[in-house]
C-alpha cells in the first residue's frame, strides 16, 4: 500500500516536473472565432503534408487571443494569435510590458459581414444610414435639429419611407464578438458620420462620438443571439420578418435558406467584397511571436503554407472556405513582409 502510494506520488511529480521544463513540439494558435475555420484548414493541411505535428488551434475570440499572446514569451504562451481586427496600441504596449517585443503582423484576407433575411422573404435594400438609424441607441432628432433623442423608430418604414412597414427586428452577435465590433465600426459608424454634427463631435469629444456611433439600442429591436451563427440562420428561417448579422461564409453555405441584403446598393458577393465595394468588409489578421520562431519547430513552414498560392491564393482552399483573398499586389507585399519576418515595430 505504502509502496504503491510512493510510486504514485513519484509518477505525479515526474509528470509535473517534465511539464514545467519540456518545450512544446507543436505550434499553439489561439484567437478569433472568425479566423478559426480558416486557421484550422491551414493547420490540418500543414500537419498532413509535413513531418511536423498538427498545430493546436483554440478559438478564444480576438481580444482573448491577444491577451494570451501578450502574456509573455515561452512554451506556455501561444505562438500565433488570430484576430478579426488589427492589434490595438494598448495591446502592443501590454505585449512589450511582458517581453513580447517582436510581433509579425500578417494580413490573411478579407471577410464580409452580411445583413440577411429568410430566402422566401423580400430582399431588403439598405444604406448604412438606415442601419444606424434603425439600430443605434440614440439618434439625431427626426425634426432635423442637432440634438440626440432616444431611438423612437418601431418599423423600417419609420426609418426610411422607401422601406417596408415591417417591425425592426435584428438578430446579431454579443459585444464580445469580433463580428459585432466590425459591424459597429463599419456599418453603424459609416451611417453615423453622415450626420455633420456627429462627425464634428469626433474632433471635439472622441469618447462621446464613439458612444453615439457604437451604441446599439437595448429596447428589444436588436437581439443578441449568441456567437453561434448557425443559430441565427435557423431563427431567420422561422421568422421571415427578422434580419440577422453574420459572416459572409455562413451566407455562402446557407444560400438556400437566407439571402444577403444590399447595403448602399451593393450585394454581398465574393467580387464586391474583394474589390472593397461592399461597405461592411474587414481584414483578417494573425500575429506571430518572432521570439518563438527558432524555438518551436515548424512556425516558418506554417507561415509558408498559409502564404502559398494553394492556400490564400485566388483559387486557394481558403477561398473555398469563404475567405476573400487579397488583390495580387497587396498579397505580394504581405508575402514579402512575411518572408523577411518584418516585425510591427519596424513597420
Amino acid at each position: 500500500m505504502k509502496k504503491a502510494l510512493l510510486t504514485g506520488a513519484a509518477v505525479v511529480a515526474s509528470v509535473f516536473g517534465s511539464q514545467a521544463h519540456a518545450e512544446r513540439d507543436y505550434i499553439s494558435i489561439v484567437g478569433s472565432s472568425t479566423v478559426y475555420p480558416f486557421s484550422i484548414v491551414v493547420a490540418e493541411r500543414f500537419g498532413k503534408s509535413t513531418s511536423f505535428p498538427t498545430p493546436k488551434v483554440e478559438s478564444t475570440g480576438s481580444g482573448g487571443g491577444l491577451k494570451l499572446f501578450c502574456s509573455g514569451v515561452g512554451g506556455s504562451t501561444p505562438d500565433i494569435t488570430n484576430a478579426s481586427r488589427a492589434i490595438k496600441q494598448s495591446e502592443i504596449e501590454l505585449c512589450a510590458k511582458n517581453g513580447v517585443d517582436d510581433i509579425i503582423e500578417v494580413k490573411a484576407g478579407y471577410d464580409g459581414i452580411v445583413l440577411a433575411n429568410a430566402a422566401e422573404a423580400e430582399r431588403v435594400e439598405l444604406t448604412t444610414k438606415d442601419i444606424f438609424l434603425a439600430l443605434a441607441k440614440n439618434i439625431p432628432n427626426p425634426d432635423g435639429s442637432d440634438t440626440l433623442v432616444e431611438n423612437p423608430y418601431k418599423t423600417w418604414k419609420d426609418v426610411n419611407p422607401a422601406l417596408p412597414a415591417r417591425e425592426i427586428e435584428v438578430l446579431g452577435p454579443p459585444p464580445t464578438s469580433g463580428t459585432r465590433d466590425a459591424f459597429v465600426e463599419l456599418a453603424m459608424e459609416g451611417g453615423c458620420k453622415q450626420f455633420p454634427f456627429i462627425k464634428a463631435m469626433k474632433k471635439a469629444d472622441k469618447n462621446k462620438y464613439k458612444a453615439v456611433c457604437h451604441g446599439m439600442r437595448e429596447d428589444g429591436a436588436y437581439i443578441e443571439a449568441g456567437e453561434n451563427d448557425n443559430l441565427i440562420v435557423q431563427k431567420l428561417v422561422t421568422n421571415p420578418a427578422a434580419l440577422g448579422i453574420f459572416g459572409f461564409s455562413f451566407l455562402e453555405q446557407n444560400a438556400d435558406k437566407v439571402q444577403g441584403s444590399l447595403i448602399n446598393g451593393k450585394e454581398p458577393t465574393f467580387e464586391n467584397i474583394s474589390s472593397g465595394e461592399y461597405p461592411v468588409s474587414r481584414s483578417l489578421y494573425f500575429y506571430v511571436k518572432k521570439a518563438h520562431i527558432d524555438v518551436i519547430p515548424g512556425i516558418e513552414e506554417y507561415l509558408a503554407e498559409f502564404m502559398s498560392e494553394r492556400a490564400m491564393g485566388e483559387y486557394g482552399y481558403l477561398a473555398e472556405k469563404g475567405m476573400i483573398p487579397m488583390k495580387p499586389a497587396e498579397m505580394a507585399t504581405v508575402r514579402a513582409n512575411v518572408k523577411a519576418l518584418k516585425t510591427l515595430a519596424a513597420n
Binding site: R24, A43, K56, S59, E227, N230
Partner: protein, 422 residues
C-alpha cells in the same frame, strides 16, 4: 348545519377529498408524461439528425496507380510514397473519365474529398506492390456530395452544387457507383476541417485520458477524506466548517473550477494548456465534493452494530474501518464515484478556461498531449458552417449519450449487485 353527525360530516367531505386525491394523481401523471415526452422529442430529433452521420457517401472507381506519374515503383520506400502526388492522380483520373470543359474542371474536382488522395496513399503505403496496377476503390466524396446523396437526391436544385455538377452526380448515382458505406472514419479519425474526414477518436481518447486522471486523483482523495471525516475526525467547529464547505462546493457553478484551474495549475504551476492532465485536475476539483458526500452517506449507512461487534472482538479502529466498514460501504462509494465521473464526462464549461476548446487533429497519446473531449467536440462542430457538421454534431451526441447511459447503468447494476440491506 350544526346538527350533523360526525359520520355525515365525513361523508360530505369524502367526495371533495377523493376529488383532490385524483386531481393530485392526474398532476403527477401529467408531469411524468411531460418529462417523457420531452425526452422522446429530444431523442427522436437527435437520432433523426444524427443517424445519417454514421454513413458516408463513396464512389466506386477503378483507378490505375500509374507508377510513372507518381514517380515511384513497387519497391518505393515510405518517404517516397508520402511525397508522391496522389492528389494529381485522382484529379487526372476524373479529368480523363468525365472530360469536362476546361472551365468546369474545378467544379468536378470539388466533388471529390481531399481525403481521396490520402486513401490511395494509405493503400500504397500498406502494399507498395500495388503501384502500376489498376485497383478498385470506394473513393471518399466531398461533404456537399454526401449531403446531396443522403438528403437532396431527387430535388432539382441544391444550394451549393450547380447544374453541371448535379448532372455528373445523377449519372453516377444512376449507374449505381455512388453509394453509402459505414462511416469508419468517424470512429478512427481525429477532428478535421473537412466534415467527411472529421471523427471522434481524438475526442474519445482525450475524454478517456482526462477521466483517467480525474478518477486516479478524485477516488482516493475523496474516499480518504470521507473516511477521515466520518470515522476519525473529532466533532468540533472546524470539522463542521469543513463539512458545510464541502456541501457548498458541490453547488458551485462548474466554470468557477475552470477559473481556479487556470489560476493555479496553469499560471502558478505551469502545466501546459489544453492537456488531459490539466483537464483532469480541474474535473477532480469538480467531482470531489460529489464523491465525498456520497461516500460519507455510504459509510453512515453501515449499521453501528457491525462496528461494535468488531470492537467487541478486539479490533483496532483501523481494523474496524478497513476490514468491516469500508467493504460494506464500497458499493455506495463506487456508485457515487461513477455518477461524479458521468457528470465530469458531460462538462465543457470549466474546460473552456483551460484551453480544451481547441482544434486537435492528432489523436493524443499521453496525458500531456494537446487534446479535447467529446462534449467540446460537439460544441465545436455545432459552430461549423457546413450542413454536414450539423449531422456530425448529432452523431457525436448519440455516442456521448451511449457513454452516459452505460456509465449510469453500471452504477445502477453495481448498486443492485453489491448493495446489502440490513
Amino acid at each position: 348545519m350544526t346538527n350533523l353527525t360526525t359520520r355525515e360530516k365525513v361523508e360530505r367531505s369524502m367526495k371533495r377529498r377523493r376529488a383532490s386525491e385524483s386531481r393530485f394523481r392526474a398532476y403527477g401523471v401529467a408531469s411524468v408524461v411531460f418529462g417523457l415526452l420531452c425526452l422522446v422529442i429530444l431523442f427522436t430529433d437527435i437520432l433523426r439528425n444524427g443517424v445519417s452521420a454514421f454513413e458516408q457517401t463513396v464512389m466506386d472507381v477503378s483507378i490505375e496507380l500509374d507508377g510513372d506519374y507518381l514517380g515511384i515503383d513497387s519497391q518505393a520506400d515510405d518517404s517516397a510514397i508520402k511525397l508522391a502526388n496522389f492528389d494529381g492522380l485522382v484529379k487526372r483520373h476524373f479529368d480523363r473519365e468525365v472530360q469536362p470543359e476546361r472551365r468546369d474542371r474545378r467544379q468536378l474536382f470539388s466533388l471529390i474529398s481531399a481525403g481521396a488522395s490520402w486513401q490511395l496513399q494509405k493503400m500504397v503505403l500498406e502494399d507498395p506492390s500495388l503501384v502500376g496496377q489498376t485497383v478498385n476503390v470506394a473513393l471518399l466524396m466531398d461533404d456537399d456530395v454526401d449531403q446531396w446523396f443522403k438528403h437532396y437526391r431527387g430535388h432539382s436544385a441544391h444550394p451549393v452544387l450547380n447544374e453541371t455538377q448535379l448532372g455528373w452526380l445523377n449519372q453516377w448515382a444512376d449507374e449505381g457507383r455512388l453509394h453509402t458505406n459505414f462511416n469508419t472514419l468517424f470512429f478512427t479519425n481525429g477532428d478535421s476541417s473537412e466534415p467527411e474526414l472529421a471523427g471522434i477518436r481524438g475526442a474519445i481518447t482525450g475524454t478517456f485520458l482526462t477521466l483517467m486522471v480525474t478518477f486516479l486523483l478524485s477516488f482516493p482523495i475523496g474516499i480518504a477524506a470521507a473516511i477521515y471525516l466520518e470515522e476519525f475526525a473529532p466533532r468540533n467547529k472546524i470539522t463542521e466548517f469543513v463539512e458545510i464547505n464541502i456541501n457548498n462546493l458541490a453547488a458551485v457553478p462548474s466554470i468557477t473550477f475552470g477559473l481556479l484551474g487556470l489560476a493555479i495549475f496553469i499560471n502558478l504551476f505551469g502545466v501546459a494548456r489544453s492537456t488531459p492532465l490539466v483537464g483532469g485536475l480541474v474535473l477532480t476539483l469538480m467531482t470531489l465534493p460529489t464523491i465525498i458526500i456520497s461516500s460519507r452517506a455510504a459509510i453512515k449507512a453501515v449499521p453501528p452494530s457491525i462496528r461494535e461487534a468488531a470492537y467487541g472482538l478486539g479490533a483496532s479502529k483501523m481494523q474496524v474501518v478497513f476490514h468491516h466498514v469500508l467493504p460494506l460501504a464500497l458499493p455506495g462509494m463506487l456508485t457515487g464515484t461513477i455518477i461524479g465521473m458521468a457528470q465530469a464526462l458531460g462538462e465543457t464549461a470549466p474546460l473552456l478556461m483551460i484551453g480544451m476548446i481547441a482544434f486537435v487533429v492528432d489523436v493524443p497519446g499521453f496525458i500531456t498531449d494537446p487534446s479535447t473531449v467529446l462534449p467540446v467536440q460537439i460544441y465545436l462542430w455545432s459552430n461549423g458552417s457546413e450542413a454536414a457538421f450539423t449531422e456530425r454534431t448529432s452523431g457525436a451526441i448519440i455516442v456521448l449519450l451511449c457513454f452516459l447511459i452505460t456509465m449510469n447503468a453500471a452504477a445502477v447494476w453495481l448498486r443492485r449487485k453489491l448493495e446489502r440491506r440490513w
